[in-house]
């Protein structure tokens, strides 16, 4: 029996993630040094894990409020006031979600009518485009460029804009490029959003991993809090990817709309993860800073090495990704990544997995040990010099 005929048309048309294809190849190989992992190499700090164990022991095994534990929402409120300069009411402006992924999904489902246009910058996280498609919205990608260190510019937005655009998705610092915007650049984007009457979905999951200069949230700019849904989580800053815990903040009416979708699908995020998240916010900042310092030094090392090797690479101001160009090799990014994997057993993700204009680049995650980074750089060097010869 052909069961595929049961599948919804828009899902049939949905392309598989380019990461998935690459994963299939890598997973069959042994002794690979992987720079292809989009998560911290650190395990969650012990005090956070212990808080979860304690919660279990205390019988914290029940549903929570749909919005999430009020204690966690209060912690989030204090944390955002202190570190982001934005204030959201714990009672009705904060929604705890199953990672930022869920927050994004329910935001699209709550906001997008069929045919609504959603702008987002590219190269970008693999989920944005498909999530928009799944809600029958129309994706309007806006390119970012190496010459701008992959910061999103108001000029590029102007150029890509078309009538009917309703939402703008930002991910700064950005996966996969590590690009982010200065305050001035962000102000220009805010001005554009106000002019075009756009609602901004700002995914700031890498905010704490900003190495140079300040991280500015667009929600903190004048006139922007009312037209921004701020999305954040614990995966990257606190090394909590597997806990699947994040949150969305915004105007009460929009949070309420997202909460409707959330309550009928997820009901609530895992209570254990919520308890751990409170611990992370209240007592996790030293551990977080120690991890950030390490990523910072690893970034300096790997970016320097990639440039020495000839793979031109801008200095990513945030995140734990370097995004070198493979142009010098004369190969496209897929052939380069597969060739490097087969010849030297180093995995980098082809940039085109993050959107068409990621072509010519590869993503190298530096959230791995110095030993691995040193060895990976040496292997890449060997591979590139063989190509040049």
């Amino acid at each position: 029996m052909d069961t595929t005929r049961y599948i919804a048309r828009h899902v049939v048309d949905l392309p598989r993630s380019g990461i998935r294809d690459f994963f299939e190849i890598v997973s069959k190989m042994q002794d690979v040094i992987s720079l292809g992992i989009g998560e911290p190499d650190f395990d969650t700090p012990w005090h956070i894990r212990e808080a979860a164990i304690y919660a279990l022991e205390k019988g914290k095994t029940h549903y929570t409020s749909n919005l999430g534990l009020i204690e966690l929402r209060r912690s989030i409120h204090r944390y955002l006031e202190r570190h982001f300069g934005i204030s959201y009411r714990p009672e009705d402006e904060i929604l705890v979600t199953v990672g930022v992924s869920e927050a994004l999904d329910i935001a699209f489902r709550a906001l997008v009518n069929p045919g609504d246009k959603v702008m987002f910058h590219q190269p970008c996280y693999v989920s944005y485009h498909p999530s928009i498609t799944l809600t029958h919205g129309k994706a309007v990608p806006v390119p970012t460029f190496a010459k701008d260190n992959f910061a999103l510019t108001a000029e590029a937005l102007e150029k890509a804009w078309e009538p009917g655009c309703k939402l703008l998705v930002l991910n700064l610092p950005c996966n996969p490029t590590g690009g982010t915007c200065t305050r001035a650049q962000l102000e220009a984007i805010a001005k554009f959003a106000i002019e075009k009457d756009l609602l901004v979905l700002s995914d700031e999951i890498y905010a704490e991993l900003t190495f140079d200069g300040e991280h500015v949230s667009i929600a903190s700019l004048p006139g922007m809090k009312d037209r921004t849904i701020f999305l954040h989580g614990f995966s990257k800053a606190f090394a909590m990817t597997g806990w699947r815990i994040g949150y969305a903040c915004g105007p009460a009416a929009l949070v309420e709309a997202m909460m409707k979708v959330h309550q009928y699908s997820m009901m609530c995020a895992s209570i254990i993860s919520q308890e751990a998240a409170i611990e992370a916010l209240e007592r996790g900042s030293d551990g977080m800073k120690a991890m950030r310092d390490q990523y910072h030094r690893r970034r300096d090392f790997i970016v320097r090495r990639l440039n020495e090797i000839g793979l031109k690479c801008h200095v990513p101001r945030g995140s734990f990704y370097a995004f070198p160009s493979v142009e010098v090799t004369g190969m496209n990014e897929k052939d380069f990544a597969v060739g490097l994997l087969k010849a030297e057993r180093v995995a980098m993700v082809p940039g085109s997995a993050f959107g068409a204009n990621g072509a010519g680049f590869c993503r190298a995650c530096f959230a791995t040990s110095y030993e691995h980074l040193i060895e990976a750089a040496n292997r890449i060097e060997r591979y590139v010099s063989k190509l040049k010869a």
């Binding site: 690459f22 994963f23 992987s34 090392f301 090495r305 040990s369 110095y370 030993e371």
Partner: protein, 159 residues
Amino acid sequence: MNPVLKLLLESGGLSTAEMAQVLNLSEAEVNRHLDQLRKDGVLLGWRPVLNIPEEDGAVRAVIEVRLTPERGGGFNRLAERISRFDEVESCYLMSGGYDLLVFVSGSSLQKVAAFVSEKLSTLEGVLSTATHFLLRTYKEQGFLMDTRAEDNERLKVSP
């Protein structure tokens, strides 16, 4: 903080050549930093942290020592004298119910006991000792003894 020192604390297993690569220094410069740290008395030495089965390892004990303080030097003269014994691995001045906490090791229980009764408690100025033998180690200088639970399988590629 000295960049070499910072890296040592973060990732102790790197060779000087690897440290040089990470820090963008020459190997000679890394060695110069290490020499300076030694000269400054910051870097005292190197030691592997081992997990040796109890039956093969040395007998270790902690000893609480009460001392008579001296005019001028307090506990320093005696503490320094005690620290010089080879049996003494570490020696700390403490607040609270006793004065020195001394970590000692020896090849057998008898040897450690002999050290305490013959050398330590007979020193003039030592008022009392209380010796506790270590039975089992769970964590040593930042390293967990049982590392099996820590081998986490991560995905090789993820978004």
